[in-house]
């Protein structure tokens, strides 16, 4: 049994995002699985999806408390995707075993089996292979506590999550303060070497491309890959041309075919 998690809060992503992610998993995961969504808004949610309440063990980690807190920087809460941290709790919600997480804004194009086979002794996470690796070496990357992984997709088990959860339980406030960019920044800063990375032959970004320096075209379909993330952010390359998944759906037929 594989436990597949997602999370939704606020109004940025409609319930369609959750339901379609579930459908994509169903089409591409030929194994027993249960699909969960950590959310407080289940209206319109597919009845096969198990709703999970937001855990409250980490300080100011529920969306409500996070937005009520004073811990803001450049208009967003510091470490703005705190609910995602809850998945690292071993046996969280009483769920134990092999776990998989997906961001809502991605498409699954092919069978997940090749990625699942990669999950062995270490937890598994996406890598931002599309980054300019010369830039990653530059001191500003370190000074900005910049992310090098992409947590759009992750796989782990309870044992592998223990040290991350310990770090969060002990240091949550400091981690929020420092890792202003989000949970990917925290994983890069504190735990990067503990993870295996999903290779670029399976993973790419609609808005960034696949692998620097030779394969960085944005908005290009790479049909043999498995997961396509739609990471958008204000520091990204060609930021004015970045599209959210629902925007891409309106413009690209191949996106429509997968995202249903």
């Amino acid at each position: 049994m594989i436990h597949v998690f997602s999370v939704r809060w606020g109004t940025k992503y409609s319930i369609d995002y959750v339901n379609r992610l579930y459908n994509m998993v169903k089409r591409n995961l030929r194994a027993d699985f249960k699909f969960y969504c950590q959310t407080d808004d289940t209206q319109g949610m597919d009845t096969n999806i198990v709703a999970l309440p937001f855990l409250d063990e980490l300080p100011n980690s529920t969306p409500e408390k996070m937005y009520a807190s004073q811990e803001f920087i450049t208009g967003l809460p510091r470490l703005w995707d705190r609910p995602k941290l809850n998945y690292w709790k071993p046996n969280g919600w009483g769920i134990t075993g092999q776990k998989m997480y997906f961001d809502l804004d991605l498409i699954i194009q092919n069978s997940l089996l090749p990625i699942i086979k990669l999950h062995k002794d270490k937890p598994l996470i996406g890598r931002s292979w599309w980054h300019n690796m010369d830039d990653e070496k530059k001191p500003f990357w370190l000074k900005n506590y910049g992310a090098r992984c992409n947590g759009g997709m992750m796989m782990w088990n309870d044992e592998q999550g223990k040290s991350l959860w310990r770090d969060l339980k002990k240091n949550a406030e400091k981690i929020y303060f420092i890792c202003t960019g989000g949970s990917d920044n925290w994983i890069t800063y504190r735990h990067f070497d503990k993870f295996d990375k999903i290779p670029p032959r399976y993973y790419y970004s609609f808005n960034r491309g696949c692998e620097w320096p030779h394969d960085t075209d944005m908005h290009r379909h790479r049909k043999n890959k498995i997961v396509c993330v739609f990471n958008t952010d204000e520091y990204g390359r060609n930021k004015h041309f970045q599209l959210e998944l629902h925007q891409a759906e309106r413009n690209y037929k191949w996106v429509q075919e997968y995202w249903q």
Binding site: I73, K138, F140, K143, F177
Partner: protein, 215 residues
Amino acid sequence: MGLMQQTKMMEGFPIPVWEWSRQLAEITHDYPHRVEDFAKSYSRNQFIAKTWMLEALKVYADLDRATKWWIMGSWYGSITVPLIRNTFKPTNKIHLLDFDKEALDIARKLHGDYAISTHHIDVNWEMKRLSKLKADVWINTSCEHMYPLTEEFNPNGLCVFQSTNFAKDPSHINCCKDLDEFIEQCNFKEILYSGEKPFHDWDDIHKRFMVIGYK
């Protein structure tokens, strides 16, 4: 040392800037991704911040050759190390702490192992341990880049902290809105000096703050 003697005028320079020529050539070859960063370490802005600190220390602190100096978030120590060496002629090595290992590797080449001792440490996570060290002066001119030193960092030595209200730089995770807020963050029991200066030439809104005192 060699055939070429330094001139009296060179000996009068507070900083041996000719060392940067050799160092920059090495960085260009060995660390091309750091050339811009190294150049920034001796910008006019950096000179103002560091000379301001040394001028204040000369007036407000009781320091001598035996003083033990520790610099947190030291970067390359490009300006601070030679200024301390020129001003106070320390008999002990100056300790540089940074989580940027390459910056420390370059610092050792720049200043020499006889002048400095480097420590590859992330101050954010070592504040309690550092508090126990026997240091006379703790310099941190990069408070805006770090978790506040308010509670966990409680050393016996003199603390010299700088920060800024320039929040547009994404690496500035810990800006203070004004000098009063920075003083509160420093959490000193005794303040010897506090002041502010313009952060850059473009506007008079953004400031650099400095507080000198004891925790």
